[in-house]
Subunit: 493 residues, 2 copies
């Protein structure tokens, strides 16, 4: 990240959600809490590394907007531990515009598309409503973010490294490039990048706009090599651009854009600190008190991509195949409520409730409920469960990376086994030491659960230890360092 | 198709459905009818060109099985006009095995996968049932077909050109190749070939088995270049094979397999003959009697890939946007009932019925129902409607080729306009002269319908004439000839 004259360029981080969110407590006092969502968990580790940079994000709560106003829309220092003293710049967005941007375009349209979740004979319907949401929502919010980036670059003498994050902000780069030619632009996509045909669900002008937006960056980054290749394939197939699959680059006019992959990771030391905190230990004791011989665990947002239903169907099969497990195992599912304003999510949560009731009725008894389903969002409870699971179920249909797998393996204390979907990005790193499963194959998932429960202790220990070593080696610091090294190399090349 | 010594090699055609089907009429007399389905329509044109070849197909009715038995399982000459005196070999298959093969694996598993129709958060579930259907149904039926091919090759002195058709028979070639090394093998895939990620819905062993099955052919043929490229991409991504995207070949051990594309077509003269038949003229008069100023038409199997719902939603939008059309237009939908043993199809037909009732209630009156929905399977009625439509709606979600577009443009008498999905294989040939639509974009489809209804007569005439010229030039004869030329070139090369 050194510029040609050896000066270190400031980092400008851009993401829809920021590291903290403001609210009022019951007494009316302002409180500052950790931002929600997996991406924030990961990126928060970067907050302390921004130096004279800034983190640009949306004002998402009423109190965020108030804070924004108090700082006259300018940046300010956030003192919450999650923000680690980072300078924040929150953008106030009209709620009606934000709704179009977020609840019509970003979720579900792009999220569903990138996770292959559309039931295409029925949805999506691109109508005047969706087109308006794209033009008067997604494009407007992206432009607003871009204008703020340009302002922040200007206050830094026109030079900075801008790191834009995820599927909410695909259209930020072109405006920034046009106004700040000296700025290095990287976009990091944290969700899967599907193959070109998946993008055909969008009208030509819409998908070309998204690709073109990303191509205004110098680097487009993903969690896995496959996503990077899929992106280049889309540039070739959908835009007719010239692609070099050896160097992983695509030529756009005179410019050359690189596709790269950097699997994101966790901040191991702060995770360990949390795992040893009194709050987590308290949760752990509660868990111990209600525990059976075996604990199978899943911790997910209640998202259609997470494959919760098939996981329970596999567990149903396990209990049918192995009646000797009756009364000896609990499947604890900690599901964070998610996107309750989207119909598909409400329906999905209903389907989950019904299936859990069925399985508990079929196999359970007055003394034992085989599935313990909790719709809740508590990090201490999740970390306590991470420490105690014997089997962690990560069977995602498609999943950008899946940080739960990394977090849980690092803090686990009982040589727990990871059952891992072949379709999660993290499979590239941990798949060889997990029990791999195919997300649609319920028979195989049932067998994998059984195998995981019955692996010899020595093998469980070895498998987990290798996973932990991998995560510790490829930690969040290395994730950032590798990207900055690549950027420096491209700047000097 | 000449062998090195100049001898013309016999053609062996292999498909699940044959050109004719046997039944008993009300009086108990055996009757022979035209086989159903789009593929049979197309392939029937080949029946007269088999010379000393044979058409191998499944016995699908009880009477087929009886005919099979009378010929002691050997081949026989079929005298029905559709079969054009071809020699048939019908294979008797145990109904329970056939059910697994057809109603669990081929439809819906492969059909849905290849048309991107799975609602992946809910389906498919690969359980013991699906695995059994693959092993004890799909593999068994494919093996039986392969054994019969080997027998028929043997009666032809071990030399033949074998043309295997469609997604029911992906596993036929390996056995034939092993037993008849002198035989040229081509597999023609009539449905879309999706990109590699779509195949990830199947467990690794299952998708590798299908790809490996196809790779035992010398040529794997498709309707469009994109499908051929997608196939090669799958060979590269999923099997790690070495692919040449310039020559469109893939190396499998010592062998080189070619991917090719030949868009299928119609037999123009027999179609014209049918269009002028008294039966069609009679249907045409009935249509005339009930007709309004404009006729919008769709003719489809009632399949989720055909996008019937969005077509009606676009029509609903058209009537809302243009109240001046009230009472002046009819949308005639001739939908052939299909796969009533698959839940998804029953639900889809229900959804269609409900939507039609809604639209008719919303826009219609006692004197006029805007949509005329008919679940029926009558070729004469379809051809009569082909002659009279002003706009033909083909808005498929994904569609291997779509022969309705070709047939209907050829026989139309009133300079009808084709509204055509970008995702139908036939778009490569006719798209430039149709009004192209994006299958998910309902606004655009509504606009296209309006534009089609209001195009000047001269432009309609020119557009249709070019379409007709293309279809006449690229007719079924040329389709076959091109393939046989390529085969001859590969045999002598």
């Amino acid at each position: 990240m050194a510029s040609p004259d050896g000066r270190r360029e400031p980092l400008i981080l851009v993401s829809h959600r920021g590291p903290v969110q403001f609210a009022r407590d019951a007494t009316g006092r302002r409180i500052c809490t950790r931002g929600s969502g997996g991406l924030v968990t990961a990126l928060s580790g970067l907050a302390g590394r921004l130096a004279n940079g800034v983190w640009i994000c949306a004002a998402l709560s009423e109190e965020d907007t108030a804070v924004c106003g108090e700082h006259h829309g300018r940046s300010f220092v956030a003192n919450h531990e999650t923000a680690r003293g980072a300078v924040l710049r929150m953008i106030d967005i009209d709620p009606a515009v934000h709704h179009k941007f977020y609840s019509i375009v970003a979720n579900p349209l792009l999220w569903f598309l990138q996770h292959n979740l559309w039931d295409l004979s029925n949805a999506p319907n691109i109508t005047a409503n969706e087109i308006d949401a794209f033009v008067a929502g997604y494009e407007v919010v992206n432009r607003r973010f871009a204008e703020v980036v340009v302002e922040e670059v200007a206050t830094r003498a026109g030079r900075a490294v801008v790191m834009i994050h995820d599927y909410h902000l695909y259209l930020v780069a072109p405006y920034v490039r046009a106004h700040c030619p000296g700025t290095f632009l990287q976009h990091f996509v944290h969700v899967p990048w599907p193959q070109p045909d998946a993008w055909r669900v969008l009208p030509v002008w819409m998908r070309e706009s998204l690709f073109t937006g990303l191509l205004a960056n110098d680097i487009v980054a993903f969690h896995t090599e496959r996503y990077a290749r899929n992106f280049l394939l889309g540039c070739q197939d959908l835009l007719g651009l010239s692609v070099d699959f050896g160097r992983l680059t695509v030529d756009v006019g005179e410019r050359r854009v690189a596709a790269r992959w950097y699997p994101i990771s966790v901040d191991v030391s702060s995770l360990e600190e949390l795992a040893n905190s009194p709050e987590v230990q308290d949760q752990e004791r509660q868990l111990e008190n209600s525990s059976r011989e075996f604990l199978i665990l899943r911790v997910d947002r209640t998202d259609l991509s997470k494959n919760v239903l098939r996981g329970f169907l596999a567990y149903d099969q396990l209990l049918t195949d192995h009646p000797e497990l009756t009364g000896r195992v609990t499947f604890l599912a900690l599901l964070q409520p998610s996107r309750q304003d989207v119909d598909e999510y409400l329906e999905y949560a209903d389907r989950i409730r019904r299936l859990v009731a069925d399985v508990n009725l079929k196999h359970g008894n007055t003394d034992w409920q085989p599935i313990d389903l909790r719709f809740q969002d508590s990090l201490p409870a999740a970390v306590a469960a991470y420490k105690r699971f014997h089997v962690l179920m990560v069977n995602s249909v498609f999943d950008g990376l899946n940080l739960v797998a990394k977090e849980a393996m690092v803090v686990n204390r009982v040589d727990g086994v990871l059952v891992l979907s072949e379709h999660a990005g993290v499979y590239d790193e941990l798949g060889a030491f997990a029990l791999g499963v195919h997300p649609f194959d319920i028979s195989q998932q049932a067998d994998a659960l059984y195998r995981a429960l019955t692996l010899p202790r020595e093998e469980r220990r070895t498998r987990r230890q290798v996973c932990v070593d991998i995560v510790r080696t490829n930690d969040l610091d290395k994730w950032l360092r590798t990207q900055l090294d690549d950027i420096a190399a491209m700047q000097s090349g």
